[in-house]
């Protein structure tokens, strides 16, 4: 069973993303949720996930910092991080991909958009730190 961590300060957004993931074929996954990047990082340190789906604009620790921390951690760096945000323009998308975000999707997202992004995840090569 895959473990998927969803980080977003909005409970509604977490529920919406979870539902999109379930529709996209991840219905048998274990979903864990965090209201900001700091909590997400603590949860990952306790038990790593197979996928992190994160918002950018969150209190305490934003999604960009969470991404940096994950990718700089020897233990967590292989976890794919999918950013779903309302504040992404083409320049920001490139910046986040340079930080090794697996993909960056702009809100509002649909199940089809998430499904399409995750389809390419299965063909991704293993990351090196």
């Amino acid at each position: 069973m895959k473990r998927i961590l969803i980080a977003d300060d909005s409970g509604m957004a977490r529920m919406f993303i979870k539902r999109c993931l379930e529709i996209s074929g991840y219905q048998d996954s274990e979903f864990v949720e965090a209201a900001n990047g700091r909590i997400a990082l603590e949860m990952l340190k306790e038990k790593p996930a197979d996928l992190v789906v994160s918002d950018l604009n969150m209190p305490e620790m934003n999604g960009e910092e969470l991404l940096k921390r994950i990718k700089s951690s020897p233990r967590l760096h292989e976890i794919p991080v999918l950013i779903i945000t309302s504040v992404a323009n083409p320049k920001k998308v490139e910046e986040l991909k340079a930080l090794r975000a697996f993909d960056v999707l702009s809100k509002p997202v649909s199940p089809a958009t998430i499904s399409s992004a995750l389809a390419t995840l299965q063909n991704q090569p293993e990351e090196t730190p």
Partner: protein, 177 residues
């Protein structure tokens, strides 16, 4: 087409895309009389809606409203604010949480849904207003049941969704984008 109309057209694009994707609901621009404007913004210029399809049905009277605002921190400073009747907030929340019983629809859940809605609309709108290579930063949404602070130089765009109407308001330097 006036500058205000052009901005409202972009707001319309951001609002309708968000509503249609997230809650499968269509919206239309609504041409209201000045007396229907939110009380704290009556002295501002109402948006012109020439050349844009407008709703023709009479909106319902609504007593309780949510006021949700999100600060724009860069590259310009301003505020985006949405004034939405509680009846529409309930409908939006029900659409988002399709599995939820009416008894579970608390005010906290409604506020969370509206905050996520304005967050998504605002981000989409900034992408539409700014050049492709321009980054921007938004603050966190804040919701109240009472009109929030007076907003100088506000541009008000009004919309109809079913029998309800709601307003999306831009203030500060946003109107100059």
């Amino acid at each position: 087409m006036t500058a205000t109309t052009a901005i409202c057209q972009k707001v319309m694009e951001a609002v309708s895309e968000t509503f249609e994707t997230m809650i499968f609901t269509q919206v239309a621009l609504w041409n209201s009389p000045p007396s229907a404007q939110p009380e704290s913004h009556r002295d501002t210029t109402p948006a012109e809606t020439t050349e844009i399809p407008v709703a023709t049905e009479t909106p319902s009277h609504h007593s309780k409203c949510y006021w949700t605002r999100i600060p724009v921190l860069s590259p310009v400073e301003g505020t985006m604010l949405m004034q939405i009747p509680a009846s529409l907030a309930v409908e939006i929340t029900k659409n988002l949480y399709g599995w939820m019983d009416d008894s579970e629809l608390t005010e906290t859940v409604e506020v969370d849904a509206i905050a996520e809605l304005i967050n998504t609309i605002s981000g989409r709108l900034m992408v539409l207003l700014l050049p492709e290579d321009q980054s921007f930063e938004l603050g966190l949404p804040e919701t109240s049941e009472h009109p929030l602070d007076y907003l100088p130089e506000a541009t008000i765009c009004r919309f109809a969704s079913g029998v309800d109407t709601f307003s999306f308001i831009l203030s500060g330097s946003l109107a100059s984008l």
